[in-house]
Amino acid sequence: MTTKNENTLLEIEHLQKKYEDAEVLKDISFKVDIGEVTVVIGPSGSGKSTLLRCINGLEDIQSGRIILDGKSITDGKTKWSLVRQKIGMVFQSYDLFPNMTVLENVLLGPTKVQKRTRQEATASAEQKLLRVGLLEKRDAYPRQLSGGQKQRVAIVRALMMEPEVMLFDEVTAALDPEMVREVLDVILELARGGMTMVIVTHEMQFAQAIADRIIFIDGGEIIETGSPEEFFTQPKTERAQKFLNMFTFE
């Protein structure tokens, strides 16, 4: 089954996710175009992270479809090892491999999964580490890095697979405030470079700055979607208004 719009990279259709009897995601549908930055926001426990985890198969889904490049990746025959090379994901808790140096962390995927040569992958890694300002840390171990540095390495590690889309799951939520900016700057830089992204975040100003489209989720449902200008200045629904009010002091 192919999609009509050639620009569509990722399509979520009527996705439903349950844990036991609890319905975590109800009938979620949206599309992500090539180069588009979609930011998913909503209260804690609304299902945002679960949604991202479903997109790269870390969670199974109960019904609905996820379509990447016009091909369903939820028909049960998916080779996730292949699909995940196209979908990069960065987690809240960075999750670098503590037994490897920075360089080994970012080379693992390209050399073992994609079977690229170490020489070529290293050149690419060095270039990417330079771009996030961490080339001099290439031989450091994760425990020697700050939270913000670890998260930037985690982003490079995901980028090394040359993914078509990047998923960011509250990547600044575990960071000290002074380190948030350095990570968000890297993501902004990626957006300017045309990377397709789905971002879950609690940083509202960042969302406003980076998003092409905002998706507001509450209670496992999409309550509202819109451009950041619309959403942040004139939210259509009461639930979105209430949610946004939590971030302002009067």
């Binding site: 990069g88 987690f91 073992k112």
Partner: protein, 225 residues
Amino acid sequence: MQDLGIKVLFEGSNFARLLSGLWVTLEISLASVAFSLVLGVLLGMVMTLRNPITKVLTKIFLEFNRLMPQLVSLFLVYFGLTTAFGIDLSGQTSAIIVFSLWGTAEMGDLVRSALISIPKHQYDSSAALGLTKLQAYSYVIIPQTLRRLTPPAINLTTRMIKTTSLVVLIGVVEVLKVGQQIIEANRYTAPDAALWIYGVIFFLYFIVCYPISKLAGRLEKQWRN
């Protein structure tokens, strides 16, 4: 009088006999440790399965081997099997069987706890990179498990070496037994030999175990993250 006891040690081939006794101790220990490491890793992996049957069975095996005093197990295998089933095992073989079972249980539990101590996120982020299960285990999970496992496994090894002294009681002539023989043989000429001989045996155990336990401490420090 003071130095009479130590003289006994150098009479005839006494010291060489002690050393050969020590070698018997080490043979039993090393064989048991080797079996325990290999079987314990397998047991530990089985123990992390979610299957309720393997859970119960491994739990019973673990508790049985832990709660049963090693001496009772030795008697059970050495005397019990012979009289009940006519299986004639040498003391040394019985000892290796008993210590391997005990070591496997202990090691299994160490492996299990090392495996479950790896955060779930490590599995997730390996998967998210496109690593297959096998690749994730080879490059990410097992190397981290080994680091957590090595210090306690080394401690278990020293515990097993020390516990082998029990095999005296099923007639295996190891270092302690040789010591007793030397003391007995010199009862009249050197009545205070016991202090010296047992002192030397203590020292021999120390020489064997200390470097091993030192190694554990060092690895622990080096791998702390």
